[in-house]
């Protein structure tokens, strides 16, 4: 057990090292993203500002509270870019036979797949997220107590896993459909709409869908509503940050099973 953990850790560390080296081979790309990427979050926060300027509050949420919610969501987005970016392009990887090499090595295929592209450029999403989040925290006067920090970490891990699971799920479908369709932009649109605004502004049916069917509400809305005492359909008070972690591990585990089923249908490519 310990030796297996050590084995995985050493391999992951080397793969991460290789990814960073590879990123540094093409420094221009990093610099390009560094300028281009934060722009979408500036636009995101500007949209929220515009909505608030128009309506005063959004379903009882002030601009500072919305910045807290949005910042939290963008941080987990950045983390999911760093750890799970390869799942965005799983359809192509599958069709081009890239799993061959991973399957020839005596380690878990998914483990290798995740760490093969540790995408350092994701920090260009992460940094704007942190900036927006810190601003939100200062507006809502968040107390940086030990338990609050622990809860935030719990939310971020859970939320990152939920995001990864969604992409891994849509990516795994390629094993059955044999097509490149990655649902990439559909996923992005849904993530954006469900994490930028409080889920409570949507009709009840939609709230249910994004709670029980595709649990995106746990990425930002449920934990944030607990931090801000906003109330939600669960009437939870302070438990949601932990629930997010559990939901994250749970959906990730389920999707992993689906991936493994799909891998049996893997057909490699050409010769």
């Amino acid at each position: 057990m310990i030796s297996s953990l050590k084995h995985h850790f050493l391999v992951a560390a080397h793969l991460i090292k290789m990814s960073i080296q590879r990123t540094l081979e093409y420094p221009v790309e990093l610099i390009g993203w560094l300028f281009a990427n934060p722009l979408q979050f500036v636009l995101g926060i500007a949209t929220i500002k515009f909505v608030i300027a128009e309506f005063g509050t959004l379903n009882g949420w002030t601009f500072g509270e919305l910045a807290f919610l949005y910042g939290l969501a963008v941080i987990s987005h950045g983390l999911s870019v760093i750890f799970f970016v390869q799942t965005w392009f799983m359809g192509s990887a599958m069709l081009e036979g890239e799993f061959d090499i991973l399957m020839l090595r005596p380690m878990n295929v998914l483990f290798q797949f995740f760490f093969r592209f540790f995408y350092l450029i994701g920090i260009t999403d992460l940094i704007p997220g942190i900036v927006i989040f810190i601003y939100g925290c200062s507006q809502i006067h968040l107390v940086w107590s030990f338990i609050n920090i622990l809860m935030l970490i719990s939310v971020l891990i859970g939320a990152t896993l939920i995001r990864g699971a969604v992409f891994l799920f849509t990516g795994s479908l390629a094993f059955w459909t044999k097509s490149r369709n990655s649902f990439l932009f559909l996923n992005f649109a849904i993530f954006d709409q469900t994490t930028k605004y409080p889920l409570s502004i949507y009709p009840r049916v939609i709230q249910m869908i994004f709670t029980f069917l595709i649990p995106l509400g746990f990425i930002g809305f449920y934990p944030a509503s607990d931090f801000l005492d906003k109330g939600n359909i669960f009437n939870s008070s302070g438990t949601m940050p932990w629930v997010t972690l559990v939901v994250g591990f749970f959906v990730f585990w389920i999707v992993t099973r689906i991936f493994r089923r799909g891998l049996r249908k893997y057909e490699s490519a050409g010769t």
Partner: protein
């Protein structure tokens, strides 16, 4: 005991049938036509430890599909495979520890980084200890000259260098079984030479069992004691190269140069296939008469200036087999 056992292996692929043009594309959105292609259709064979087997066949015969099933990448539609008693599908991690696999068309080396980085990664994945790692690299260095390329980014290696790197990467954990899928494809004579030399070396020094798919007949002649020929998913020949030659083309050609042109030299056991000036080409079956006897008989009739002997061309034999 058989190290590799393949029993009634079948692999079907569903292939989409598309009609041409935009209308075809639209039609396929509404209703998808698929047909089943039997890439591998009920094949069985066993391979003993230390054998070097050429697994050959025309393009699309099912060679790569078989190798991919043997190495756990593809799941067979039916039938089973045992490698040292284990199924590569059910016990993938266990089985691949004992395999080295090289795909000539697909490198396992990290494109952007120096060759050594991939080796370092493999060292960690296979948990090779330092002493063993260094020793393996050193042995491989003798033939594959890894030292000269280890610090070069893989994208800057020539095809021959890359293939040397891929072979070394596959052998780093000293696997007892090696699958080589077209390892000499597109290589120049020099690169082919060093790769063949390396294959011979690992087979003789470590008794490594090797399955090799190739279109290069030189590979077969130089390396393989046994030949399995597959066509349209079915094994059509399995045996040694010499057996195959004896069966398919048991004849040789004797080319005789005389001092002057002569037209009526014949022999009851040899057939005259070509006449040109003072040269006559005889074809005879090994089983009927020996070359020395034939030369002796002919020289009694006419003074011979020079002779040479041609074996049947392996290319012709393989082509004859494919056509069957």
């Amino acid at each position: 005991m058989a190290l590799i056992e393949v029993n009634h292996l079948v692999k079907n692929f569903k292939v989409a049938e598309k009609e041409k043009g935009l209308t075809g594309a639209l039609k396929s959105v509404v209703s998808r036509k698929t047909k089943i292609v039997k890439a591998v259709n009920d094949i069985s064979f066993t391979i003993r430890e230390g054998e070097v087997v050429a697994y050959i066949g025309p393009n699309g015969a099912g060679k790569s599909t078989t190798v991919k099933m043997l190495s756990g990448i593809l799941t067979p539609t039916s039938g089973n495979i045992l490698i040292d008693g284990l199924s590569p599908q059910k016990n993938r991690k266990q089985v691949v520890k004992n395999l080295g696999v090289v795909f000539g068309q697909r490198s396992q080396l990290n494109w952007d980084l120096r060759l050594g980085e991939t080796f370092e990664l493999l060292k960690r994945i296979y948990q090779i200890d330092n002493a063993k790692y260094r020793q393996n690299l050193e042995t491989m260095n003798e033939i594959l000259e890894i030292d000269t390329i280890i610090n070069t980014p893989v994208r800057q290696l020539s095809l021959g260098q890359r293939m040397r790197g891929d072979l070394a990467a596959a052998m780093l954990h000293s696997p007892p079984i090696l699958f080589l899928d077209e390892p000499t494809i597109g290589l120049d004579v020099e690169a082919k030479y060093s790769i063949r030399k390396f294959i011979k070396e690992v087979n003789s020094s470590k008794k490594t069992t090797i399955i090799l798919t190739t279109h290069d007949l030189g590979d077969i002649q130089e390396l393989c004691s046994r030949l399995i020929i597959i066509n349209k998913g079915v094994i059509i020949e399995d045996g040694s190269l010499n057996d195959l030659i004896d069966r398919i083309a048991p004849y040789r050609q004797l080319i005789v140069d005389f001092y002057k042109e002569h037209s009526d030299i014949t022999h009851p056991l040899a057939e005259v296939v070509e006449k040109e000036g003072a040269r006559i080409v005889f074809r005879f079956e090994k089983a009927n008469i020996t070359a020395s006897r034939l030369i002796e008989d002919i020289s009694k009739k006419m003074r011979i200036k020079d002779v040479s002997l041609n074996e049947a061309k392996i290319e012709d034999i393989i082509r004859a087999v494919y056509k069957k």
